[in-house]
Point group: C2
Chain length 202, copies 2
Amino acid sequence: MVTKAHPPTLRELIKHLSKLPGLGEKSASRIAMHLLRAPAADAEALAQAILRLKREIHTCPRCFHFTDGDLCAICADPARRTGEICVVETTADLLALEESGAFRGLYHVLQGALAPLDGVGPDDIRIRELLERLEREEVREVILATNPTSEGEATASYLMKLLEQRPVRVTRIAYGIPMGGDLKYIDKVTLERALRGRQQVH
Amino acid sequence: MVTKAHPPTLRELIKHLSKLPGLGEKSASRIAMHLLRAPAADAEALAQAILRLKREIHTCPRCFHFTDGDLCAICADPARRTGEICVVETTADLLALEESGAFRGLYHVLQGALAPLDGVGPDDIRIRELLERLEREEVREVILATNPTSEGEATASYLMKLLEQRPVRVTRIAYGIPMGGDLKYIDKVTLERALRGRQQVH
């Protein structure tokens, strides 16, 4: 609880920190107290890093991932396979896939998913830019990696339809039981997807 | 995990955030992604709050609590009882006591505790300033509220000895079973303290 005994600058910082995801007032307060005791240079470095993030970062003109430079680190990497584009909703999804190290092609970040009820239509996400890339680049395969939510599903369906007539292979990542998952605790929609996606082993 | 796909400014911010208490790389990453998407004004406000905290805050010349102004909010409050000084180790301890609302006197923040093994002696914490306050102010009672750790205990013992000859009442806050605590899970040192501190009820 923030009291009158908190100096206004401290109160102000706690207020801003507690708006961050995963931080409540207690953890925000702990961080603020830490910054109060920390060397001025450390706190300054953190503040400058936040300012730089907002001032220097922008989206890659090719894939819409974030970058400090011209092309993003992935588009600029000559070792990536340029014939495969993995379509994701957000940069966070892209980074999760990168952490897995399982994909060596390029990405396309839609910067959202179709949500007609919230007024997000095809023109509000980077679908047109994906189609332009298919014209311009030599793409063999488009991998749809939207999230298994109603918005992600709607987006994938829309894209599948849109790409049907094009001379490009369209695939979708597998949805099913996660590794380490326990069947008796998995929700029925996932179980249904896992069954539908079953693959022959011999 | 921070990958090569993370733009350098994002990587830098995650590095700084993950040094904060209670934040691992995962939560730091989540906060950084949030700031990336947040309106520039919000991120700017957070950065400025950190900078202002370090630039404007200093210690109260009377009690060594933090303040933006001259005296701290507590010392400047005419409603506080000036005859009682509660001695705490840190501002965080002071704020915890304030949150309880149980004390209406003044504080004295030692800004540390005696730790001879770490080279922290009586001259390294605000003991001399406490003695000066006892000369200057009309103090009826000094309440020792150091933590029940070896450093806190050593500090309390040292102060008790130091104040023995002075015409001031010296008390110590009670240490015992916390509210909601369960005796069978309480450590034996606490149990011993609770027994030693037992009070007659009739």
